[in-house]
């Protein structure tokens, strides 16, 4: 129930800020910024989990998030450099960062199994929302074919993360 509410809120946020972009759809520099920010925020969430959690499965998941999102973001940085695109901060990126900061503060107060459950539930919700935004908004809006391809590869990776998170979350039910 709580999970559904969080997912809904994040999805609504992504959608609302997406619509708020000029001409109704984000530009390539904005898309690059949103995708990079979403990855960076998940790396920071993973780092918090690695500082706080003692659960083997949660730590393995967090380690993989740190590695995969860094690998994707390194590709993204190399691509924007090659294309001469400067990622542009925007309302969606700002909203994502604000929401992540609030979640990080909330998780900081929890420990042990309560932290593990809250972290992994949020990872399920976060990947669901970001994947929805990629699939329905960012990929269709991307105009550069190489950027579009990287986003598509990213989506496949993050859909894997969503399932991985669901598997780990199932252990805390």
């Amino acid at each position: 129930m709580m999970l559904v509410r969080i997912t809904g809120a994040l999805a609504a946020l992504l959608l609302a800020s997406g619509i708020a972009c000029a001409q109704g759809k984000p530009t390539d520099p904005q898309i690059a910024h949103i995708a990079y920010t979403a990855g960076q925020l998940d790396i920071e969430a993973a780092q918090q989990a690695l500082e706080k959690s003692h659960n083997k499965e949660v730590r393995a998941f967090a380690t993989n998030m740190e590695q995969d999102h860094k690998a994707v973001n390194d590709k993204a940085l190399a691509l924007v450099k090659k294309l001469g695109v400067t990622p542009e901060d925007n309302d969606t990126s700002k909203a994502l960062a604000k929401q992540a900061a609030a979640k990080r503060a909330e998780l900081a107060k929890l420990n042990g199994a309560a932290f593990d459950k809250a972290y992994i539930d949020n990872e399920v919700a976060y990947h669901k929302a970001v994947n929805g935004a990629l699939e329905n908004t960012l990929i269709p809006a991307a105009s550069n074919p190489e950027l579009k391809d990287l986003l598509k590869t990213g989506l496949k990776i993050f859909q894997g993360h969503e399932q991985h998170a669901e598997h780990v979350a199932a252990e805390f039910k």
């Binding site: 590695q67 995969d68 590869t153 496949k156 859909q159 399932q163 991985h164």
Partner: protein
């Protein structure tokens, strides 16, 4: 007599080794290719990870669990008959199947 039996045994081993194959599976763009392979007991499956992220080949029945870092190959020898479904632990949307005959 003992020498003849030993010789026959060596021949049998040589023959079975000659038959054992290495079957290659490429991991690319979040997929095992080919997704389904046919093999025999004693054959080896070799995965090559051509993606820019690490993957695993993890048997659903727990028989093996192999970490395959970027730009590496990893092998598993098939020891039992039957159909094995495997997946990547990090990206469970990646699924492969091996049909192992005797």
């Amino acid at each position: 007599m003992a020498a003849r039996t030993f010789g026959a045994l060596l021949l049998a081993i040589a023959a079975s080794q000659a038959r054992a194959e290495v079957i290659h599976v490429k991991i690319e763009n979040l997929a095992f290719t080919p997704a389904e392979i046919r093999a025999h007991v004693g054959d080896t499956v070799e995965w090559i990870n051509a993606d820019f992220i690490a993957h695993t080949a993890t048997a659903r029945d727990g028989a093996w669990d192999v970490l395959i870092p970027i730009n590496t190959t990893r092998r598993v020898v098939l020891k039992a008959e039957g159909t094995v479904t495997y997946f990547c632990k990090f990206h469970p949307n990646m699924i492969g199947r091996i049909v192992v005959a005797e």
